[in-house]
Every structure is written in C-alpha cells, then in structure tokens.
Subunit: 315 residues, 2 copies
C-alpha cells in the first residue's frame, strides 16, 4: 500500500509533515506500507534530519522541482507546474503507482486535479467535499457540499446524501447515519426551488435514512448525522463555524466545546465521488493533522471506501 | 402619531406586551402619541389591571375576536380571520388610521399581510427583512435578506444593499455604512451564478459604499456594516447564529459576547421596501422587546424612514 503525500503543502511545510510521517511510520503495525513523500529532496532530508537518524524505513522521497503556491490560479498552476508536488501526486495516483494522495496545499488545485487527472466514480454527476460539525451533544455531524458545487441541481443534493451516508458510516463509524435537507422550514414544500425539488428525490433514495428538512438552528444540536445543501450555503456555514474558534479565543473564552471548532486538528477531508482516494488538508495543518490524514488514507484503502461508495450508484 | 400593536402576538401575550406599552407611555415625552392595542378587550384589561390603576393615557384598545396562531398557514389564516389582530392592524395601517404596525405573532402572516394590504415602495421589486449581527469588536452588523426571498435575482441583492444602507444609517446610527456581498471567495468573479451577476450591479450602485465580497468568516468579525445575500442562505445563517445563545448556555458558557446573540432582546425588525412602517417581533418577546419595538416604530415615523428609503429608488 502506497500513500503519496505532498510534503511541501501547508504553512509549516515540510517540518510538520515530516513529524506526522515519522509518527505514522513509527506506529505502523504492518510492513506493507510505504509513504511517498513529494517535495524538494534537500528540504525533505533536512526536515527529517533533526531526529538524528536515517530516513524512516517505509519512506520514499520523490523529488519535485516546483511547488504550487496558495495564491496561484489552480488551473493555470497545474498546467504551468508539471513537476510540482500536486501535479506529480495526481500523476502517481492516476498511474496506479500510489493508492492515495494527500495534500494540505492549494485547495483549488487539489479540486481541479481530482477532476483533471482522475475519473468520477461511475454514476456520479459531481464530486463533493464535506466538513465535520462539532455537535453540542459531543457527537459529530457531517455537512456537505461545502464549496466545490456553488450551483447545484436537485440530483446533486441527492447524490451528496448518499455519499455523505457512506462517509459517515465507513470513515466516521456512525451507525445507520440519518440524513436531513438543509432548509428554511420544517415541512415538505418549504424552501428555495432547489430544496423544494430535492426533497422528493431524498425521500425516495433507498440508500439513505432521510429525516426531512433541518434548519440552521439544528446544525450544532442533536440532529441528523448528515446534512446536505448546495456548496454556496455550505461554504459560508463552514467558514462561519471555522471563525468561532478564533472569535471565542479573542473574547477570552476558552472552552472544550469551542476547541472542537479548531478544524485544523481534524486533518483532512476526502474528495467524495472520484475513483481514487484523495484527501485535502487545511493550510495550517500541524504534525497531528498530517498524521490523521495518513491514518484516514490508510482506512479508505483498507476498507475499500471507493468500492463501497460506488456500490450505491452502480445498479 | 398612532402606533398599532398586536397585544396577543408572542409567547407571553398579552402580559409582556402590556408591560412594554406601560413603560413606553410612562416615558413618552410628547403628547401626540397614541398606542392602539389590538386584542381581546377583556384579556387586555386584565393584563393592564395588575398596575391597579386606570388604563394608561395614550392607550386605545381595539377589540379583536380572533387570533392567528403560530401554527396556522399565513395566507389561509389571514383570509379566514379578518377580525384577528394581524388582519385588523394591517387594515388600520392601510387606511391611515395607524402610522405603524407592530406584531410578535405569526411571522409568515406578517410578511403576507405586508404585501397583501400594503403597496411596495415605488421602484422596489421585493420587500426584505434583516437581522442584526453582533460583531466581536462590539459593533453591530446587518445581514439581509434573512428569509422572505429564498430565490433571488441579482437586482434583488442590489436593492437589499441600498435598503440595508438606509436602515443602518437611519435606524442603527451607523455613519457611512459599508456593504459587502456574501460569497465563497474574495475576488470578483467568485461564487454561484447569483453572486457573480450581483457583483457588477453592487459595484455600480451609487447609493452604497461597496467593499466587494465577504466570506462566512467575516460575518462575526470586523468587516463591512451591511452584508447582502439571498434569503435562503441568510435564513440558515440567522438560525445558526440564534442557536449560539442556547448552545453556549447548555455548555455552561456564560459570556457577554454570546449574550448579544440572545436575539429576543433586540425587539423587532422592520419590513423594508413597503410603503408603511411594519415591525415584526420575535415569538418569545418580553416587555423590553415590546418597548424597543415601539421606540423603533416611533423613530421610523419621526425620521420619515420610508421617505428616505424611497428617495434612493425614485429618480
């Protein structure tokens, strides 16, 4: 099993990525694992050097001469920098030389790369990306789409519901996840045209446990496990929730509940609906986040997450 | 000046409404003010009785034999109950017997009534409703639309920006309010089709100080004064923000910052874009909220808010 990791993505690259890799390889219980570390070979060697020991076994470095920066235009950058970590990572994944690819670099480039280098899973209309929601009852909810699809068709929301269900069940260990449609009222028939048209599709979807509409007030409370919405609404909500951690800190409020809104700690989130495992990390990922992303990638491969998700679409 | 008030709307009707009226009339400095209290005459008399004194001068009661409940369908209820407080209040306003109308009752019925009994201000395509956003820098922001217009055209967002600017300046005393377009990226050209099309309109709007796109993370922080979005996104955000007060309380967090998310305290919000002052209150309004709503109605009348708003649309 080979997991490709962009060592140069993220604000603290490559030092934190190196620490995450080191931790993972030290704890790894099986010998069939290889981390393919993508980046400038000299910088990577330097990053691993502080441990005063040879490169960890299980690590293979792939030298890259360029890096896509955060500020770069995703499409242009991917074309202009074929020797960047992100372009090379996707190439390894597409050719089968890697089984998963992880990066905390330019998110747009990761999205474009997912659609550029890889195929969609059969039957999938649009890929999607989800965020975890820290619930006030200490459970974890899931919200999707959070930004790839700013304009959606009802069929997209229906597929997000299925993909979110498989994600919650296989990767978050939520048994029999329930699904709600984000809306501005409880009853069927409420909402904008999109929500009105999506409701009957969700009701008939045999792969999900649909519980009807949920409202903004239900997001943080004891509600359904998976909430679906268009990527515009989802992205605005995600960024508002992400702001709660720094805002409360600024107000002098330090509380374990708001610590859970410190999204960087979670590691990354998989791109759902594509044929191979891709994980996108937060720009400010630390060692723990990199470690968690590698663990998630391993889980996706071992549990055949892609196959299980595809099973709900190919009939 | 005559302000009509639905005394039977709200969870604590008519007791809290009576306390609010009493406080207002006690403090009122001018004699030209009359509160028209709408409701069951016996219940109203009882509600004012605990003060052991005659009805406050300046109060006139208008007996209503029916009340529209929260659970009722707005359109059906308004037709079926012409002798309800909401139907009668709008009738008084439409005929000129009242100068403003306030209710904390069925919000849907208040919206339908605003469009049913009253005309839109000249040039206005759709009425709108806003919410206050407590900023972490102790300032106050404004977000609109928050629920009347779940599907919007770019022209609607442009008009919301103008109306929000007049509201912020005239009623919230924000000098030279700045405006932002809620979006999922900072640069022009980002976002869903609606946001992409609204941006150039906002840029050319001579009545606002447009500052470009704002994101979900900017809502609670030091950002523009007025944020515009479609009513679906706005309503979901409003309800999420409203949930922060009970959620933090439940977590044992008591902090002055989150006290400001206790939206009931603010009183009500004006319906913007209609020809007369209408204020919609929160269902759980207490005496202070009713008092604040009457103060707001008086301010809207004295400052000719409707006329000032209309001035930006009639050219």
């Amino acid at each position: 099993m080979k997991i490709a990791l962009d060592m140069m993505g993220g604000d603290f690259a490559p030092a934190e990525a190196a620490l995450g890799v080191k931790k993972f390889l030290t704890e790894a219980t099986t010998a069939d694992l290889e981390i393919i570390g993508l980046g400038d070979k000299d910088k990577l060697t330097e990053a691993f050097h502080p441990f005063n020991q040879p490169l960890p076994p299980g690590l293979r470095m792939v030298h890259c001469t360029e890096t896509i920066q955060y500020t770069e235009h995703p499409v242009k950058a991917l074309k202009a920098k074929p020797d960047s970590e992100i372009a090379k990572g996707f190439a390894l994944l597409a050719s089968g030389e890697a089984d998963a690819f992880i990066s905390a670099g330019n998110t747009g480039a990761m999205m474009v790369g997912s659609m550029f280098y890889l195929k969609l899973s059969p039957g999938i209309l649009r890929p999607t990306i989800a965020t975890i929601i820290p619930r006030s009852n200490s459970k974890t909810g899931l919200l999707l789409d959070v930004g790839i699809n700013s304009d959606c068709k009802p069929e997209n929301l229906d597929q997000f519901a299925t993909m979110g269900t498989v994600y919650a069940r296989e990767l978050l260990s939520i048994q029999n996840p329930t699904v709600g449609l984000l809306n501005i009222g409880e009853e069927e028939g409420k909402g904008n045209l999109l929500a009105q048209a999506a409701y009957p599709l969700l009701k008939q979807n045999p792969f999900i446990q649909f519980r009807g509409n949920v409202e903004g007030r239900d997001l943080l409370t004891d509600s359904v496990d998976v909430v679906v919405c268009d990527g515009f609404t989802g992205n605005v909500l995600l960024k508002l929730m992400e702001s709660l951690y720094p805002v409360t800190r600024q107000q002098g409020i330090s509380h374990s509940y708001f610590d859970r809104f410190h999204f960087e700690q979670y590691g990354g989130t998989p791109v759902l609906g594509i044929e191979k495992p891709v994980i996108v990390g937060h720009g400010v990922s630390g060692a723990e986040a990199f470690y968690n992303m590698i663990v998630l990638a391993e889980k996706m491969i071992r549990r055949d997450f892609i196959g299980k998700l595809a099973a709900d679409f190919v009939q």
